[in-house]
Structure formats: structure tokens, C-alpha cells
Symmetry: C2
Subunit: 453 residues, 2 copies
Amino acid sequence: MAETIRHDRTARQLRLLSDALDSGRLGPVRRLVNTLSPAEIGNLLESLPPGKREVVWGLVDAEDDGEVLLHVGDEVRESLIADMDPDELVAAVEDLDIDDLADLVDDLPDTVIDEVLKSMDRENRERLEQALSYPEDTAGRLMNPDVVTVRADTTVDVVLRYLRLRGELPEHTDHLYVVSRRHQYLGRIALAALLTHEPGAPINKLIDDEQPAIDVGETDTEVARQFADNDWISAPVVDENNILLGRITIDDVVDIIRDQAEHQALSAAGLDEDEDLFSPVHRAFRRRMVWLGVNLGTAFLATTVIDRFSESIAELVALAILMPIVAGMGGNAGTQVLALMVRGLALGQVGASNARILLWKELRVALINGLGLGTVLGLIVWAWFGQPMLSLVIASALTINLLFAATAGVLVPLTLKRLGFDPALAGGVILTTVTDTMGFLVFLGLATVILLG
Amino acid sequence: MAETIRHDRTARQLRLLSDALDSGRLGPVRRLVNTLSPAEIGNLLESLPPGKREVVWGLVDAEDDGEVLLHVGDEVRESLIADMDPDELVAAVEDLDIDDLADLVDDLPDTVIDEVLKSMDRENRERLEQALSYPEDTAGRLMNPDVVTVRADTTVDVVLRYLRLRGELPEHTDHLYVVSRRHQYLGRIALAALLTHEPGAPINKLIDDEQPAIDVGETDTEVARQFADNDWISAPVVDENNILLGRITIDDVVDIIRDQAEHQALSAAGLDEDEDLFSPVHRAFRRRMVWLGVNLGTAFLATTVIDRFSESIAELVALAILMPIVAGMGGNAGTQVLALMVRGLALGQVGASNARILLWKELRVALINGLGLGTVLGLIVWAWFGQPMLSLVIASALTINLLFAATAGVLVPLTLKRLGFDPALAGGVILTTVTDTMGFLVFLGLATVILLG
């Protein structure tokens, strides 16, 4: 119910816009689009098939172009950029914040970058070069160098006068940073504190020196975790000498959290979170082909196991009918354990210190499930084929395969992680290879020994 | 690489703690634990097996108990609460914010709730009752009634004096809200604006009336989307008469975004995002049994298809060896389409207006993949079994099953959504039922007609 209500709103916008586009009346489309925030326009463009997408992109206010480019996936961004001439691009991106511009640089044509650099003053050019010198996915890339700093040896009154002279504060400023003469980070002062203290209050009484600064080389995942765990709105970034370099704000962190969530959900299916819903067919098929090719390879592994037992199958066709159940149930059970482990690894909840206890728990769960479902399955098979020994074989095979599934579900992601691979991406393929192969092997093997031996 | 570095930190904490626990020296454990934020303590407790978990829980500073309870999943929370006596519980929760307390109420024993209600003043009691009157998962439950309001017909100076008198502001206050005499929401004033304008400036010149207020009945998903898309730090909540009721802040929204991401990743495997890594075995097995039982039922569907062709299999055992490949590849390809669709539906990018175009794109991708992989598969099968007609059959069956997979991948989630079901939860089961059943049917059917007919 809640799902439906929530969805109605965006879906309605989409339908309205789609109708207006179909009717060819671009005036209403333009008005509709430009009531949206850049992120909403980005979402809308992602939902439009090529053709319509270019039409709507042409109707977006030029001043929003840069922000919209920041809010779409890599693939869609490339297609939008390909649609703009260099002058438009320069105009779109030259007013962006330094950290946002650094995000886009890789996707811009060289001529546009040159033009943008020329249009900047020296200070901003140096800031951009600085930002680009940090590796992607680190705090250095995320931070904005635009911060307001004050000294400790002054009063609220002086700071207020300074701020009034300065005028506007950078977006999402909730704290001013207190620095030493050498620009070392000493602590922060909440805007709220400035507002609730008497003008004469000394600044050094208001300093909160509890918040740790973020190291410029910290990964964005760790930055996101700290923000989420500590309810931060912004945090200072320093270098190894504690010199204040910039500031990270929660809005950029929210984007990281959303990207990581998408990555986890999509990579289990071998997809990239930047995949465009409407990728050109030649592009989509090539990427998926790789994934399906890998899966085809592992499927052959399972197949060679079945091949070993072709005589048994020829003798008792019921084996061919029932073997997918044993393999498939192992896959389902293992996928459950894998999903729990991938989440645990992402949250840092799973490690060498508790892996053994987890495995033990999952083995017990698998044993009980195997005995329970095995009994049900055995009874059905008995009723169907009238062979009590066959039902004993399938019940035992199911139980054993669930034990293998639990073991693989715990150990495969841990091993991948230790080897530096992404457990969310490769875990599923390896797991189902184990559960398919072992499922066929155990069931057909037991059947051959017990029924046909 | 980045993954490893990030993970090191939490893993190291965990190992240190685990070692200290094993050694029985609780002093260091207590010190270690109480340097962490409540969210980090929550994460830590989730990662500890029962036994150790209770020990560490006992060492957490009493004043953090309430906040920690807010930061763990439902299951872990129940186990922690079961471990406390009523007095401890009352002390832990009575100082929480109203919105947080409302979150916990369902999990508290009645005696504790009575005690907490008695300890509150009338105003807070009414606020709590008010909060509980809104349905879960709506803005009403998320909001905090503690807001700072000002009138429009005054000056910066007067507001500053009022704030100094008032003292501390509620956490994460970045705006004051301007209300009418009847407490209707008129707009907001940034703290930054108060700091950067002259004392004599009239408040009504500083008002930002662009930010829409959130309706108290809005779903939390939609609230999260608006925050993320508009880079909000906080937003006002109003009733249907535009009366200001409270304020939602980004820290609570970040929790929602993380919960929803977990839901999407785990529900595809039939798991609940509140599942405890160390659920007691009897609990874990029961829940998983339901999911595996459903999968067992659908597996039988596919099995009955194979049963129809038992004579063909007896005649040509190669069919039994190869049939899992056709079914499995269909499942893999369909899961990719499903994952894209589930994300698109969650972001509101997919609807009736573009479903047809998406289906058409996916069918073309499936056709090319089917022909490409079918050729590879056909050649391998030819080399293996030396039967050209068998390779023709399996190549055709694969192509046809990929077309079914693409169709199911697009239509199943759309249909589930329209019927009010969660596409992330039920989509996978239905999809693999289609790809298994159709895979066996098409392959065995074609083989029977062409090879054995």
C-alpha cells in the first residue's frame, strides 16, 4: 500500500511528461521539467528512452545543466555530454563547485577542460588541480576546499562582525573551523553556539574539539560509515600534518551511500550501478554476454558431473527428473547465507574473529532445514515414484547439499574479501557452482551406490 | 584494495575487542567500547555472538543504552531488551527524543512504558501520544516536534536576543521556521542568514519560502527521496491545514536510506533486513524454511515438466546432461533484467509509460545474447556429443529461453508492483520458475520433436 502511494507521485510526473512529449507540445514539458530539482531532472532523464531523452535534455534550463550532469549515472552522462557542443558544456560546468567539477573532468572532452581552466582564476585552477591529485573514492575527492575558519583568541562579537562582512556562507555550513596560525585544525564552532552565546563570550570557550578530522586519504566508504554512525552534517578534512584542507558535507555522503547500495544490489547480478536503463543494445548485450559467458562456463562444470552418471540416469530416469531440485534448493539456501555475509562484510560486522561461530550456526540451521525439507521432499517422492529407497536418497542428498551450501555461503565471501575481490560481485557465481556441482554429485552418487550398486 | 583498507579499521576494533573478551579482562573492553558512538556500539553488538554480546552490553555506559537500542536491528534489540531489568530500561529510554522513543515503544514491556509515561511531564506525554498516532513509516513518525519558530514581523536583532535567552538549539538545527499567529508554516530562515545579515535587517527579507513543507502523512520512502534529491539537511512537517508539527533531520533520513538498501539486497534472498547475524538457530531455521519451502514448491513445477519427457530422456541421456544449462542460463539472464527493473521501480524510473520500450530493448539484447551464446554452446555440444541436430536444438532452446527470461524480467516486477507486492521479495522466485519451466519445456520439447519425433 505504502509502496503504491510513494510511487504514484514520480510515476504521475513521468506519465504527464510522457503525454506532453507525445503530443509534441514542448512548452508544457519545459515548464514541468524546470519545476524539478537537478537530481529529479537527472532521475527523469534516466527514465526516458533515447530520443525523448535528448528532447527533454534540450529543454532543461542552461543554468541547471551542470548540476544535472552530476546527478546521472556514468553512461547517461556520456550520452548527454555527447549531445552538447563545447560552448554549452563550458557554460554548464564552469560555475560548479571544485569538488563537483573534479567529478566530471574525466567525462569532458579535452577542449572543454582547457576552456574551463582558462576561464578560472589562478586560485580555483590550483584548487582543481589539487582535487584531481587525490585518488578517486577518497576523502580528498569528496571534500570542498571552501571553508570558513576563525581563530581561537577572539570573541563571538568579532566573529559575527567578520561573518557580516563576509556575507554568504558556503552551502551546508553548520560549523566554522578553528585553526592555528599554521592552518592546523583545532576544533569547530557550531553556528548555533554563535547564535546562543553573548557577544562578549570568548571563542575558545565554544570550541568543540571532540570531533575528529577526516584524513584526506580516507576511503569514501569509511567516510560514509563515520557520517552515518555519528550523525554528522559536515566534517573537516586534514592532511598528515593536521593542516585543514577542506570539508565534506552530508549531501555528498548520501550520494555515496545510495551508490554503494545500488552497487551491492546490482553486482550480485553482474551489473554495474552506472548501467543505463536504456543502454544501446550493442552495449548492453556485450556487457551481459561476459557475465552469461562466465556462468555458461561454470554450468559446464556441473554438467560434466552429470555426464559421469549417464548410465545411472539411463537406468532410472527419475534421477534426471529429481536432480534439479537438489541442486536448486542448495543454491537458494546458500544465497541466503551469502546475502547475510555480504551485508555483514560491508558493515564490518564479520571477520576472522567470528567466522567460525557463524559457520557453526549456519551449519546447524542447514542441518535442521535439510532434515525438515528432506522429509517433506522424501514423502512426496515416495508418493510419486513409489520407491522408498529413492526418497531416502533424495532426502539425504538434500541435507548434505544444504550443508555444503552453508559452508560455501560463509567461506566464499570471506575468502573473496581476503583476496581483494568484491564478494557481492563474484560470490553468487562461485556459490551456485558449488551447490550445483555438489548437488548433482551427491544425489547421483548416492543413487548409483544405493539404488543401482 | 580500497575495500581492504576500509575494512581494516572495524575488523581491527573487533579483533582487539574479541581478544580482550577472550582474555577475560573486562576493564580494557569497557574502555574500548565507550570510546565508540552509540551507532558504532550497535554495529559491534550485532557482530558479536550471543554470550559475548551480553557481556559487552553490560559494559556500555548506562547513558548510552537508549541510543544504542535505536541503532540495532529489531531482533538484536529484542535480545538486548530481554537482558535488562525494568528500572534499567526506564532509565535508558526516558531521556530519548520523542521521535526516537516512539520508535522503541513497540519493543518495550508495558510496565516500562507505564513507568516512562509517569516520569514525563504532560507536554511530552502528549507529544509521544501524538507521535504514536501516526502510522509507522510516515513523516509523522520520523519528525521531532522540537522546533524553533519565529515571527516574520521582527528583526535579526530581536531573534538573536531571543536565541541567546533560549540557549541551546535542538540538534541539527540549520533553519528557524517562520510561522503565522495560528502556527501555520510560512517559510524558513537559515542560521547562516542570521549570522551574515546586519542586526537591523527585517526577518521577512530573509525568509526562504521556496522549500515546500512535508505532509505529515507522506511515506518515509518519499521523504528520503526528497531529502536526497534536494540536498536537504532538515525539512518542516505540516498537517493538512499547513500547521507546523515538527521537523525531520537528515540523520534519520540516512538511516532510512540504509535500511531500504538493506531491504532490497536481502529480500531478493527472502531475508528480512532486521535479521540478526546470530539469530538463535530455532528462529533462523523457521524463517528460512518458509522461503525454501516456497522454492521447493516451484521446483516441483519444473520437475513435472521434465517428467513429461522421461521417455525422451531414457532414449537420449544427453538431454538430462544438458537441460540444466538451458534452464540455468535463462535464470541468470532474467535475474539481470529483474535487478535493473527493481532498481528502476525503486527510483520511480520505470512505469507504464516506458515499459513497452524497455521490454523491446531487453528482447533485442536477449536475441543477440541467445544467438551468440547459443552458437558457442552449440559448437561445444557438437564437439562433445557429435550430433549436429542436438547442437541446433540446444542453441535454439537457449535463445528462446533467454527471450522468455527477458519478458519475465520486465513484466514480473511490474505486475507485482501493480498488485501491491514487493518486486524485490517475490520477483526472483517467480522469474526462476518461469525460466526453469520454460527452459526444460522448450529444450526437451524441441529435442523430442526434432531428434526423436
